[in-house]
Structure formats: C-alpha cells, structure tokens
C-alpha cells in the first residue's frame, strides 16, 4: 500500500514539474485532463467500443427473439401438460 501511494505521489510530482518547466500557463486541473495522446487513446477506445456494440446489436436482437420464442414454447408445453390432466377422456378412476 505504501509503495502504491509513493508511486502515485512521484508521478504527480514529475507531471507537475514537466508542466512548470515548459512554462505553460497552469490550469489547476491540467494534470487531471490528460495528454493529447491519452485523449486520442480514449477516443479510439470509445470508437472501438461503439463499433463492437454496433456489430453485436443484431446478435442481441436475435438472442432476445430466441428467448421470447423459448418462453412462449415453454408456456405452450406447460398448458398442454396441464390440459392433458384435465381432459376427461384421460380420466382414470382411483383403484
């Protein structure tokens, strides 16, 4: 735990130091905004995620329809089984 804290602290220090050295105007939140590389990476990740979702969408729809049909078929099976018990023609008196 202490190692982790130390590592985080060192990273913050070095980032701030680099910013100061470049002489840029410092935004207090700058170090939390990320670099252009990070922004590009995040955008790429988001694009990949959206593309993946779009590719999966038909599959999800098909799966939902399969589940819906399955529930419907089960309902038919159950009620058929129930009706077979209620059918007077299949009534067997107790011995």
């Amino acid at each position: 735990m202490s190692e982790h804290i130390h590592a985080s602290y060192s990273y913050e220090q070095s980032t701030d130091a680099t910013l100061f050295e470049n002489g840029d105007e410092i935004n207090p939140n700058m170090s939390r905004l990320g670099t252009p590389e990070e922004g590009r990476r995040q955008a790429e990740e988001e694009a990949t995620r959206l593309a993946h979702e779009a590719a999966e969408r038909p599959t999800l729809e098909k799966r939902s329809e399969a589940y819906r049909q399955y529930v419907e078929v089960i309902g038919v099976h159950v009620t058929t089984m129930r009706n077979m018990e209620l059918d007077p023609d299949s009534f067997t008196p107790a011995a």
């Binding site: 399955y70 529930v71 419907e72 309902g75 099976h77 159950v78 089984m81 209620l86 299949s90």
Partner: protein, 142 residues
Amino acid sequence: MKQILQKINKLVVGDPSSVAFKLPKNRQLKQLTERELLRLESQVGSAVFGPVPQGHRREFFCFDERTWIWYEEWTDEKGIRRETTTRYEVHDKGILKVQEGARYNYIEGKELENLMLATRVYYEKVAREVYSRDPQTGKKFA
C-alpha cells in the same frame, strides 16, 4: 452458453439442503381442478429462484400460454406487509413486464435471460414433480 447451462443445471438440481417439493402419496392428480393444478405448479415455481426467504411468500406460475405470474409478499423493516405482482406477457414484439404502479416495459438483457431460465426450470420441475412426466419426451413415468 456454458455459463447458462451450468446455471440451468444448478437451478434444476437445486440446493440439496433446500426442502424438496413433494406431493402427497395418496393424491389423485386427475381429480384436481385447473385451479388446484395451478396451485401445485406454483408451489414448485416458488422454489425456482432458490429458497424463499423467511417471512416471504412467493408464487411463480404459468397462468396461460402467454402469461407468467410472479407474486411476492413480505413484511418490511417497519412491520408493514408488502406485496408485488409482476405479470410477464409474451407478445410478438417481446415480453412485456407489467407491474402495478410501474411503467410497462419490454424486458431485455439479463432480465429476459433470467425469465427464460426460470421458465425452463419451471417446466422441468413441474413436468417431473406435478405431472410425473419426462420433460424431454412428455411421456408419463411408469
């Protein structure tokens, strides 16, 4: 898919420590009315989601070909008796979830998958335990 099969297997086999549903030995199934059959099915259905918590009453049954009912009754921490009835209606467009005081919506994702699994387990258990039939073939056990 493997996870789904494992889940189904766990639900079908059940928890060995839970109380198994048993029909009275002298019960004559063919003399029962539809209402009584529904009650028996519901007893089995209530265990589909696992053991019912202490102080809860649960019903889960297939009302007709396109309607499933889930009823839950319990006492909250203030000692007030609560109940909720959820109706799942199979439509061509999807499965509509109907709850009193709640917005109706077509279920999807995990909720739809869970309902599908629950109905499957329900069928397996009801076939065996209420109607003494093989759920695969539909034939009566000897």
